[in-house]
Point group: C2
Chain length 434, copies 2
């Protein structure tokens, strides 16, 4: 069996990319420093002691998640997923795969009055449900959306029990979401207190929306488990893709100031994955002046938007291109039509052939311009592939945090803004200071 995903950092070494690259000697130093932390991580994974990924060995909770989804789907044509950041980005990434969703999922992650009004105007409230997700149970945006939307749903279904169409997720204990749930008499799924929002995609936070979207949630976890196996095969980390990825990011930052890391999949369905990883990377590493800034890009679209900058702008980036097998897929261009248009190079080719050629051409161009490139690949974009890539990125992020000497699991700076917003609401100061 081929590996669940491929990972190739040769395009980050000077012998491939030229002056843009790292040297085997300096990478060796990074690998040596990483071997201790990797031994810890590997041990934790072996002992099921790293909650975000330990989940991927479980299956006893999947039946409950599927049951909840089936119950919601019975009484709803539309389900609003009310949550923000880690409570929505993972679910958005997974549900991008949906082709035959059981219900129409709408992610409400911003208390934008215009969006919320459009949402309410576009659905039949009597056939709409909600999943309210907040780890702490106290996220202001989630609370205000829940407190304005859920009552509107209830008003449209006076005869039904709210438990049939609204469900919440929050950690145990006393918190605002739990209090609302008690008041509304709706069920609450436990959000594991030991799993931070941005690491929660393999729990019900990611999998309940995935099940509502008609996806194979067992395959998501199985793909993640395969990726963990692939990584933990390596005892010292040198052959673990996640360690390699973290090492090359940190080394390119140290030696060449690659402060920006561009994540560019070549599949529309992987763009939300890139935005999920953007949060994971930013909140886990961006502290004490450290970290790098991850940018989500999308091939082939951003060839016509960002590639000029990537090739010929400041040399401050590394690139991760996520490829898939595309040759032969999609509709084929009639040779007569291509000839008539004067576009013979497209004659007889499919849309997948073109996109496939472009993902390779972009990698070639970047290397020719001495821009370091890591290549990741999946054979097809499905539940297992997304699960695998997400597990990879979690491991890589935690390893990068070790290397940078920061705590991968906190986000101390944002508490500030939350305090300031509350203060402004309490004092009625919702406009700019004079």
């Amino acid at each position: 069996m081929p590996d669940i995903y491929t990972h190739d950092i040769r395009g980050c070494y000077a012998d491939t990319v030229g002056e843009g690259g790292v040297s085997p000697e300096s990478m060796e130093t990074v690998f040596e420093a990483a071997s201790g932390p990797w031994t810890l991580m590997r041990g934790a994974l072996a002992e099921d002691d790293f909650p975000p990924l330990t989940l991927t060995n479980q299956s006893d909770d999947l039946a409950e998640i599927s049951d909840v989804a089936a119950r919601l789907a019975e009484s709803c044509d539309v389900v609003a997923i009310i949550g923000v950041g880690g409570s929505s980005l993972g679910a958005e990434a997974l549900t991008a795969l949906a082709t035959q969703p059981s219900v129409d999922l709408r992610f409400l992650d911003n208390p934008d009055p215009e969006t919320l009004a459009r949402f309410k105007a576009s659905v039949d409230l009597a056939r709409t449900g909600a999943v309210v997700v907040s780890k702490s149970g106290g996220t202001a945006e989630t609370l205000i959306m829940a407190m304005t939307i859920v009552p509107a749903l209830a008003a449209a279904r006076p005869a039904e029990s709210m438990a049939d169409y609204v469900i919440a997720m929050a950690e145990p204990g006393d918190n605002p979401v739990r209090r609302l749930a008690t008041h509304w008499n709706i069920p609450v799924l436990d959000h594991d207190p030991e799993i931070g929002g941005r690491y929660s995609v393999f729990s019900a936070v990611g999998l309940l929306p995935a099940a509502l979207a008609g996806l194979d949630i067992e395959a998501v976890r199985a793909g993640a488990a395969d990726a963990i196996d692939l990584n933990t095969r390596s005892e010292d980390g040198r052959d673990a893709p996640a360690v390699q990825g973290a090492a090359v990011s940190i080394e390119l930052l140290r030696t060449r100031g690659a402060r920006i890391t561009v994540l560019m999949p070549y599949a529309d369905a992987m763009w939300p994955l890139a935005r999920w990883h953007r949060q994971l990377w930013a909140e886990s590493l961006g502290k004490n002046g450290r970290g790098t800034t991850l940018i989500d890009a999308l091939g082939a679209v951003d060839q016509h938007s960002q590639l000029q900058l990537y090739l010929d702008g400041p040399d401050d980036k590394m690139f991760t291109i996520i490829t898939q097998h595309l040759g032969g897929r999609g509709d084929r261009v009639s040779p007569e039509l291509a000839a008539l248009a004067g576009a013979d190079y497209l004659a007889g080719h499919t849309t997948g052939d073109l996109l496939g050629a472009e993902q390779e051409a972009t990698i070639d161009s970047l290397l020719e311009h001495n821009r370091p490139v890591r290549r990741m690949g999946v054979s097809r974009v499905d539940e297992a592939a997304l699960g695998a890539l997400m597990a990879h990125f979690m491991l890589e992020t935690v390893m990068a945090a070790f290397m940078l000497g920061v705590d991968a699991f906190d986000q101390p700076a944002v508490e500030d803004g939350k305090r300031l917003a509350r203060q402004r609401l309490l004092t009625g100061q919702t406009g700019p200071k004079s």
Copy 2:
């Protein structure tokens, strides 16, 4: 009358932001260097000699655009806008405003076989039309999508003239899109050869989709014209927002290495605007190793994803927050429910109150962390506001190019990748090199 938008760079000066800021003395040097280029730009605008913005003084073509839109809407429930980069991002930014679109617009900007299959499966082909947009007439992605989708539409409407539901835009002369149009006997609107794709939003490229979305296209141009007036009032540029914006970007790059510029609106409907500007900024400035990298962010969502990095990560960014008047807008939280949840700070407040408090709190937090902030504001997010901001960003980008000494209107590096992709298709090499 208040200005069509507000612009405030005080948060970039050391007396407001502390050690993060620029000094009046160094800014003076930049303004002096900019006054020559600004005089040229101002002169060109006065003489209607800057095609992308000269358009905003015209109205004689608007009737044709509206007529074309009305004709398409008559025979279509869905219209695919087939184009990539400058041929789609501006239209996507404008149509984000649509609440009552005449037709369901779908932007096909990526030859992803999965997306195209989903598109075809989700529409009634016999009630679907297409707008094919490529300035050069030879964009590979646009051509392959047009050559695979338009024949499928035609097959579903054997009795109708293709001119009723398909239209193209390309520059005059002999090119693949024009040849296809001749073959299909469909009309072609001229893409002005003097207007690059990323500067084309005020032409039919942006306005035909906007008209299809039921928007007031005259107001888009009027808003842009207001922004031009606001800027050109300033003779030496010191009081022109676009010159101030360019100057502060360049100065923060020079003195403090602010290589990243974050554009963060607080309205879902302005997120596509940020992605439009991301292309404009990247392709116009990212050359000869120069330029800065623009990141699109969205408030309040990215407070829960990126703010940790912005506040406490590397100090290599400047921030532009686009605010709107939000107080009192949206649904109001019942005080009883808020009290019961233990979220008294939300009692009696609307979703707009919260989002309004958050945009201010984010600005305050950034300043407290010595991160330079520019504030832009509109009273509401409508056609005039988007037109104004787009005109502003075009002027600012061109002025920044002057200051950096690069050509704002070319994109030489991307031609490389196009060549490599064609080569791979012609030689059948659609996979990685061994």
